[in-house]
């Protein structure tokens, strides 16, 4: 049996898959938008990652599903919540990590982990989708930008506009009203990012702010958000180009442990 394992992370917004070889080698990965047919999306995510790693289905000996749609990963042998997976993934990339902050499409999580990468405590945004990727997507849309653009733009702000509405539904109207009052979109964006950073900090304080922090999830690809978080914390934050894949990576790692009969 090969030591190749795969992790499939079906989030609320995107599906991610990582194929992991023996040792710390990522053989391939994929990222796609989730649609309405989650079962198919999961399959496609796996196929794409396999293609990326030039492998076929039979080369993979263990598949783990995670994320909101983890129960739809019918072809997998194990399901683990994305909380455990992000913890594991972050620990793998940055072994000193003690606090993981995952901002995804619909959830924000703060996860405190120990030196082995086990979850000690976690907190999630409770009330609603406020302060998540969706919130940024909606606001970006209202300003006529693509999500990829808003981070860099926010960094050019001169004077952040204060955004108070954290409700995704109403933030949109707040943003529109600032535009109509002639505020610079960059300043509005800086305000939006600052407001999410503040929300996120509040979540982190629930579990305790620990010295080494790793930022994961799709929103960690947004430099503006990374900057806002660093500024609000007054401390460095680990980010990696792989950050969005850490859930899938963690899932693969959990699978590997299971395969080798380790603690799982």
């Amino acid at each position: 049996m090969s030591g190749v394992v795969a992790g499939v992370d079906i989030g609320s917004t995107t599906a991610k898959c990582v194929v992991l070889g023996e040792g710390p080698r990522i053989l391939g990965k994929s990222l796609s938008v989730v649609g309405v047919d989650i079962v198919k999306d999961a399959e496609r995510a796996l196929e794409a990652a396999l293609a990326d790693s030039h492998l076929s289905r039979s080369d993979v000996s263990f598949i783990t599903g995670t994320g909101y749609g983890r129960y739809k990963v019918y072809f997998g042998q194990l399901v683990v919540t994305e909380i455990s997976c992000h913890a594991r993934g972050a620990h793998f990339l940055f072994p000193g990590t003690r606090l993981v902050v995952d901002i995804g499409g619909q959830d924000t999580k703060a996860i405190r982990i120990d030196e082995k990468g086990e979850v000690v405590d976690f907190a999630m945004n409770d009330k609603c989708a406020a302060g998540t990727g969706r919130f940024l997507d909606v606001c970006a849309n209202a300003l006529g930008y693509d999500v990829g653009e808003i981070g860099p733009l926010s960094l050019q702000a001169r004077r952040a506009v204060k955004v108070t509405s954290t409700c995704t539904v109403f933030a949109e109207s707040e943003v529109t009203s600032y535009v109509s009052r002639g505020k610079d979109p960059k300043d509005i964006l800086a305000g939006l990012h600052a407001s999410i950073a503040n929300r996120t900090l509040s979540l982190m304080q629930r579990v305790g702010v620990e010295p080494e922090i790793t930022f994961t999830g799709g929103v960690s690809q947004n430099e503006g958000m990374v900057h806002a978080l660093r500024r609000r914390l007054g401390a460095p934050v680990n980010v990696s180009p792989l950050s969005q894949y850490l859930g899938a990576l963690g899932a693969a790692l959990h699978g590997r442990e299971r395969l080798s009969g380790g603690a799982a």
């Binding site: 009203s177 503040n198 509040s202 304080q205 500024r231």
Partner: protein, 415 residues
Amino acid sequence: MPELLKIGSWAEDLPDGETPPGVEISSDFREFTEAESVERIVHLAQEVLADPTFPTVRAWRAAGGKAVGCFPVYTPQELIHSFAMLPVSIQGGGENLEISRADAALGSFLCSISKSTLEMALTGLLDPFDAFVFPYICDVSRNLDGIFARVLPQRPSHMLHLPQNFTSPATIPFLVAEYRSLIAKLERVAGRPFSQEDLRASLEVFNEQRALVDRLVVLKRDSPWKVSLVEYYLLLRLGGLLPREVHVPLLRRALAELEGRERKNKDSIRVIVLGPFCEQPTLELLQLVEDVGCYVVGDELQMLHRWCPRIEPGSDPLESLATSYVRTPIDIGVRSTPTTKAAAILARVDASKAQGALFLTAKFCEPALEDVVLYRRALEGRGIPYLHMEFEEKSTTYEQARLQLETFAESILFE
């Protein structure tokens, strides 16, 4: 009316984490004692409110005094005063305070004032206080006391059970016992024993303040064009932030100016504002109410200073204080109504000759929310128009509020 000053964007301008510059107020409150015009007083009041570090309390402490923070709506501040301590009304952190830790401790679906008060406790902004009193006005205020006991163990906090049975002969003795429990804590904080004589003197100081507050309330009711809602509110609000001895002369000077004011009576509608008895609307919102054409001729703002007309100290001032609470019928969301809500609201509308009622309730404030239904039923029975809007401490956009207020005014004014 002076232009509403825009203060308090310090949170925007400064890098996060830095403490804001305090408004310089000399330790003897000279600025307040010297402030001659209403315009100047309003300006000072806005500065005080925009600064979450409690400048008046710091000034008091600088002179060696002790201060006790009181959560709204009613606390017997006379008691605190009788120990020569400064009783201060804590009414939230205002729109500039970032809430980050309190959310976690309290839960999401709570009024802003409870969150911002806890946030201030967690971030050291309440350090200028020596003790706290939380009256049982609602479950949130009550629970805050127990949370304070954990997060600020060095500073005593006391939950005061305000009775709700106003007919039992045992109520007044019970309230006296409640006050005695509070007194026991205050004695420890102040480092001196309670004295009936001191309380008697304090009652007189508060009586003087109440008489002036009454004059202001009557002025606002009878000649609403002479004093704007923002001025009115700030003058009252200062009453819970300044030493009473500073507030009383200040209010007297302000009243002299306001009563003599020559202003045009605008074509506005007369409304009574119900609901903001605890958490306070922002100044912008208050101003908006009058901007769209409503004169506020009755309200529930800052009830503490006008709970009862005056308290005769009598032979047992403590009992007099308790009696005044129990025997003064006040129709407000945090006190069970002895009559019916319908009778209460209609009497208030009649007394103020209001043409409409505006319910401004703090978001998540259950005591206020529940009354709205009974009130509106009574108002509908009489064909009195009303509008219900919720507010939060932090609002930067007022589009929705403006839209509804304008419609409300238009619907009364236009045919």
